[in-house]
């Protein structure tokens, strides 16, 4: 049998999926043990016990100095920034993407500027943003918005242009105005595709958030990581990284679920 025809059954799929995780965890445990036997205070590769202990301190017990649960406070702070920014950029991208994609006049006006601006590396703008908007939340939200909106907009415009011309012509022969075509033909078809694009932009959004929090903040997941880095507290950093990964994964899962529930026809068409 050829290798490309070899399909794992359910059990094997599960085992194969779990295997890389087990290998990574196993390798980590061995490395950690080796370092901890030579120096029990080693901070670089803490044991899982030490990480659980640090997690308990950060998430389950109030901070003795401020009385707040640091990890939840950090999570709340980061998520509110991230979600606000994503809501803003999604809305902008939806409106401008449809305009640019559907109306040649809008395309001629905004298309080139969006294409050029989307080449600006957003992190390079960070020092400017901090001076213009201050060190508060506004600068952080702006960074994420700038970093994600342009790509979202370009993608939206391309997807509008991908719609079959026949659909638009048909709607016009049925007497639809531009507004009606925009809101009744294009918009409903764009919403599930927008979810796809937002899913892809979640990664960059997190990146920008953490970069901004590293520079000036008093709470947030990125803030905490860069703060405890000062004394090499890997027992805090590693659980935080895992937690951020879980959050990002859950957001992705949530969007996929939303797409399936709200636009069953789209998922159906994709599978067909």
């Amino acid at each position: 049998m050829r290798l490309l025809n070899l399909k794992p059954d359910k059990t094997w799929s599960f085992v194969l999926a779990a295997l890389p995780f087990f290998l990574l965890i196993g390798a980590y445990m061995v490395g950690s043990d080796l370092r901890l036997t030579t120096n029990p205070n080693d901070k670089l590769l803490p044991s899982f016990g030490a990480m659980a202990e640090a997690f308990k301190h950060m998430a389950l017990q109030p901070d003795p100095r401020s009385g707040i649960y640091l990890m939840w406070n950090d999570t709340l702070s980061s998520l509110s920034l991230l979600l606000t920014a994503l809501a803003i950029s999604t809305l902008i991208a939806l409106v401008f993407g449809i305009l640019i994609g559907l109306l040649p006049v809008a395309g001629a006006t905004f298309g080139p500027v969006v294409a050029v601006a989307s080449m600006v590396p957003p992190l390079a703008l960070l020092p400017i943003l901090f001076i213009v908007m201050g060190l508060g939340d506004a600068a952080k939200i702006s960074l994420i918005v700038i970093g994600t909106t342009l790509k979202l907009t370009r993608d939206m415009a391309l997807r509008v242009q991908d719609l079959p011309r026949e659909q638009l012509i048909k709607a016009q022969t049925l007497g639809a105005s531009t507004w009606q075509i925009g809101t009744r033909v294009v918009l409903p078809q764009m919403l599930p595709r927008l979810i796809d694009t937002v899913r892809l932009e979640l990664g960059p959004a997190w990146l920008f958030l953490i970069a901004a929090e590293a520079i000036a903040a008093d709470a947030g997941l990125g803030y905490r990581i860069f703060l405890v880095r000062r004394y090499l507290a890997m027992d805090v950093i590693i659980p935080y990284v895992i937690w951020i990964t879980i959050l990002a994964f859950l957001m992705d899962l949530g969007l996929r679920f939303l797409q399936r529930r709200a636009f069953p026809w789209f998922a159906g068409a994709r599978e067909a």
Partner: protein
């Protein structure tokens, strides 16, 4: 689960165990090749000069060893690399030496006491010229750094505590531009950032490290085990340092070299040197490290670090990490000495026994 899956899993676990992620741990034993990390700071610029002009090679050759001197752009990263075991020696402050390598279980010895900050670190207010005005303000600083310690000492001097201000962690790289924004009204930072900020007319220096002289000490530290097995390495470091000090005092080109490497000119470098108490002669450093003040300072710094929970989660008191002084007296836990001030190498330099 079928049998083939089970046997496969067994194999996988074995494979994981053998696929070990081993990082270089500092291994003691006699060796020939040593690595030293340093970062840009007025009191450490001599290391870059010594490496570039052959002073390092001269002393390494004398003892039949090699010393690689590597400059880091990121101070904390250089300490982390040392703590992880990738370097044998690093430049750091007394406070960071206690909170990073020592608290991380890496037994560390201060070979050279290079200088202390005598005004290099400062509290700056915008438009206010009394320290008392800091009350209720948001203070931008690098949290848990010597700036944080300076703020604590400044507040203490006017009977305030950290709860009377709000600390906002701000990256040192962005401190100068942060000061230019309207919502930043108080900062604690170090030179050359201090000099840049003070160019602004509104900026008023209200407290600096010359008011707590000798408390922020810049050291060259080495891994204690490595040093014990290789005293040559310690001797070479001391030899390099005092040779370079002589060059700095005698040779204008040396100062120019260091000024340029730290991104300023001779005037700017002199301005930084003026607020740095550099120990150019081994006898000055010896007087300082053998004196009583360093013990008081150690207690203060340990207390600060303990209050900030930087001595480790298991630390029950400020003396959880023992600090040994040249006279072999110990502050804190004698069973857990992780930071040692060792005068023997500087003494050898003073006696001409290198």
């Amino acid at each position: 689960m079928n049998r083939s899956v089970k046997s496969f899993l067994k194999g996988a676990v074995a494979a994981a165990a053998s696929f070990a992620l081993v990082l270089p741990a500092a291994h003691a034993a006699e060796k020939k090749d040593f690595k030293v990390a340093w970062s840009i700071y007025v009191g450490w610029m001599p290391w870059g000069y010594a490496a570039d002009t052959g002073i390092v090679k001269k002393w390494a050759d004398k003892y039949g060893i090699t010393i690689e001197v590597k400059q880091f752009n990121d101070y904390v990263e250089s300490i982390n690399q040392y703590t992880a075991g990738a370097f044998d020696a690093v430049t750091l402050t007394n406070m960071d030496g206690l909170s990073i390598p020592a608290a991380g279980g890496v037994d560390t010895t201060a070979v050279i006491v290079g200088d202390f900050s005598n005004g290099n670190d400062a509290v700056i207010l915008k438009g206010k010229d009394k320290l008392e005005d800091i009350k209720g303000q948001t203070v931008n600083l690098v949290e848990f750094s010597v700036s944080h310690y300076l703020l604590a000492r400044a507040l203490e001097s006017i009977k305030l505590a950290e709860k009377d201000v709000k600390v906002l962690n701000t990256s040192d790289a962005d401190m100068a531009s942060a000061y230019k924004t309207a919502d930043v009204t108080a900062v604690v930072t170090w030179k050359p950032i201090v000099s840049t900020i003070l160019e602004d007319k509104d900026a008023k220096k209200v407290f600096d490290s010359s008011q707590i002289p000798g408390e922020i000490i810049d050291l060259m530290v080495a891994n204690t085990e490595v040093l014990k097995d290789n005293p040559k390495f310690g001797k070479a470091l001391v030899g390099i340092w005092y040779d370079t000090m002589k060059a700095l005092a005698a040779d204008k080109a040396a100062k120019e070299h260091m000024a340029k490497a730290s991104g300023t000119d001779v005037a700017g470098f002199d301005e930084q040197l003026a607020t740095t108490k550099l120990f150019s002669e081994p006898k000055d450093a010896l007087a300082f490290v053998n004196g009583p003040d360093i013990k008081t300072t150690t207690e203060r710094v340990s207390t600060f670090l303990f209050d900030k929970a930087l001595l480790g989660k298991d630390a029950k008191e400020a003396g959880a990490i023992g600090v040994e002084f040249p006279d072999k007296s110990v502050f804190g836990d004698k069973a857990n000495v992780k930071l040692r001030y060792d005068a023997t190498f500087m003494q050898a330099a003073a006696d001409g026994n290198l």
